[in-house]
């Protein structure tokens, strides 16, 4: 088996955090989302991460931090969202270019998976396989690919990508196995449908190919927006303070989940459910549900529900 992680999105909803960094490289509870994913993949499986030229350097730097010889970064030579190959297009091209003959473990780089990928692989029987999670809300389910199971509780009866009206609360979570025997079908499908990876599974079902479902109850986060990013942090960190190397928080109050990145300093401030990236200086501030990107210097500011761009300097002269 070969793992292929899709990490080429431009993540415009998370601007400005994704201005110079791909979404999979966003730190989540102290580690890049991508690191969380890769660490779950069994060591004997080679991993290829697909991204685009705009984020090339960030991925190459990240690769240096991962102790995994079989890790490769595949750079799609595009700099803009509207010029991308698309997820299916990128997979099909990689299969062709690298002449892949193993089954493929497909993962999306912005999904945090709480379950064991080893168990997921162990449940694979040779049919296309997807991991599904009961989100518990049909309205929420409309944002994802929904999965309707057959009576056997294992095979998929129907798959709908972002339906207008969800018939189920079971949703696909960006974790799949595509058997090598289905590559031709995937290649043909990608030519007409370059985007929406879940569409491949709709196509499998249309072509009467059995698709299996791995249902799990551990946590899962699709990091697509500011709210989901903060909620995921809250779930993973809990009511704690997570301090990076060289970080310190002095003469300050903390409530809820607070993450402070490497070499950041918080002084005389009140911080609630907030993530502060590396090399920041926060003095005399009240921050609630904020994400402060690297290298910011904030003094005497009250902020609620804000994502602050890297390198921002805000100093209130009125305090």
């Amino acid at each position: 088996m070969h793992a292929f992680i899709l990490a080429g999105g431009f993540a415009t909803r998370l601007w400005p955090l994704t201005e110079k960094r791909a979404k999979p490289l966003l730190p989540l509870a102290g580690l890049p989302i991508l690191t969380h994913i890769v660490e779950k993949i069994p060591l004997h499986i080679p991993v290829t991460v697909s991204t685009n030229a705009a984020f090339k350097n960030g991925f190459l730097e990240w690769k240096e931090t991962i102790d995994r010889p079989s890790l490769q970064i595949m750079i799609e030579p595009t700099f803009a969202d509207d010029k991308k190959l698309g997820t299916n297009g990128a997979i099909a091209q990689w299969l062709r270019d690298e002449k892949i003959t193993d089954d493929v473990l497909l993962l999306t780089g912005d999904n945090y998976l709480g379950f064991s990928i080893e168990n997921f692989i162990a449940s694979y029987t040779g049919n296309p396989l997807l991991a599904a999670y009961d989100i518990g809300d049909k309205h929420e389910a409309r944002k994802f690919g929904t999965v309707i199971l057959s009576d056997d509780g294992r095979s998929v009866a129907a798959f709908e990508e972002k339906p207008a009206e969800a018939k189920t609360t079971l949703v696909s979570t960006g974790c799949y196995i595509v058997p090598a025997s289905s590559f031709a079908m995937l290649d043909a499908y990608a030519k007409t449908h370059p985007d929406f990876i879940g569409g491949i599974f709709e196509e499998f079902l249309r072509m009467k190919t059995r698709v299996d479902c791995f249902r799990f109850e551990e946590c899962w986060f699709d990091i697509g927006s500011f709210e989901t990013y903060l909620n995921a942090t809250k779930k993973l960190v809990g009511d704690h303070l997570l301090l990076g190397d060289g970080a310190e928080m002095v003469s300050s109050m903390r409530e809820g989940s607070v993450v402070i990145g490497q070499n950041s300093k918080v002084d005389q401030s009140t911080i609630t459910d907030t993530v502060i990236f590396d090399d920041c200086e926060i003095v005399d501030c009240v921050l609630e549900r904020c994400v402060i990107d690297s290298g910011c210097s904030l003094k005497g500011i009250d902020l609620t529900g804000k994502m602050i761009r890297a390198g921002t300097i805000l100093r209130s002269l009125t305090r």
Partner: protein
């Protein structure tokens, strides 16, 4: 560079106009001769000494600002105010330098001529300056953020007024199907901000929506040395009756209840 040359020429021409206006008043009052009772060289020397001081007073009225409209009554009153200060300085300088008084009518005529000539010249020169600054490539390429009807109205307004700020691109955070607004291309979402600021050499950014991103847009502008502007409509102020005021030295955007003309000045 273009704008600096045009500004320097404007300041220089204003000094010439100022001195010229005073000289014209002299000849109109004294006659087209050099009087020995009231020597022209003393008079001219004093006007010359007054002119830079008058120009400083003019500058404090922001009349040379890019965004300033020269045709308004407010601008006319600013020029009149600077003229009045100028004539006062002239009188004092002349008295202190030469310990002598002269015709009060001459002072009055010099004041009126100087104000009239300066205002007319400002209107004419501003039109010329705008034309030069707007010619391709525009000296002040402006980025608009947000696609709203207010954005379209602003583009039309800037074009109608032949503003020196020329919108060259629009970014929209929430995504839009529009490819262009009033001929200005919509280049994508805010993830392209840095690229657009650099490739289009943006000098001004006007935020027309997406209030939640104001800190980040301002941060980008500060970093890149770009002037940041915010439409009051982003704050929900759409009746054009807001004012930036000082509340005990603290700048605030104020919207007062509609009232009489007197209230506008004394509220």
């Amino acid at each position: 560079m273009r704008s600096k040359v045009l500004l320097a020429a404007w300041l220089l021409s204003d000094i010439i106009i100022f001195i010229g206006a005073y000289a014209l008043a002299y000849f109109l009052r004294v006659g087209f001769i050099f009087s020995s009772d009231f020597p022209f060289d003393r008079y001219l020397l004093t006007a010359l000494m007054t002119s830079p001081l008058w120009l400083i007073v003019m500058s404090t009225t922001r009349t040379f600002f890019l965004t300033h409209n020269q045709r308004t009554l407010r601008n006319g009153s600013y020029i009149a105010y600077a003229g009045a200060v100028g004539i006062s300085i002239f009188t004092l300088l002349y008295y202190f330098e030469f310990t002598a008084f002269f015709s009060r009518m001459l002072l009055l005529e010099a004041l009126i001529i100087q104000i009239a000539l300066t205002w007319v010249w400002h209107i004419g020169y501003d039109k010329f300056r705008r034309m030069k600054l707007r010619s391709f490539p525009p000296a002040f390429p402006t980025l608009l953020v947000g696609v709203t009807r207010e954005t379209a109205a602003l583009i039309r307004h800037l074009d109608r007024r032949r503003s020196a700020l020329v919108p060259v691109a629009i970014l929209e955070n929430k995504g839009t199907k529009e490819k262009e607004i009033e001929g200005v291309p919509v280049l994508g979402k805010l993830n392209k901000l840095e690229e657009v600021l650099k490739t289009h050499k943006i000098t001004h950014l006007i935020q027309c929506s997406d209030l939640e991103q104001s800190i980040n847009l301002l941060s980008a502008c500060r970093k890149e040395g770009i002037t940041y502007m915010l439409l009051p409509s982003v704050l929900g102020i759409v009746e054009r009756d807001e004012h930036i005021e000082s509340l005990e030295g603290w700048p605030v955007t104020a919207v007062h209840p509609k009232g009489s003309v007197a209230q506008r000045f004394f509220a």
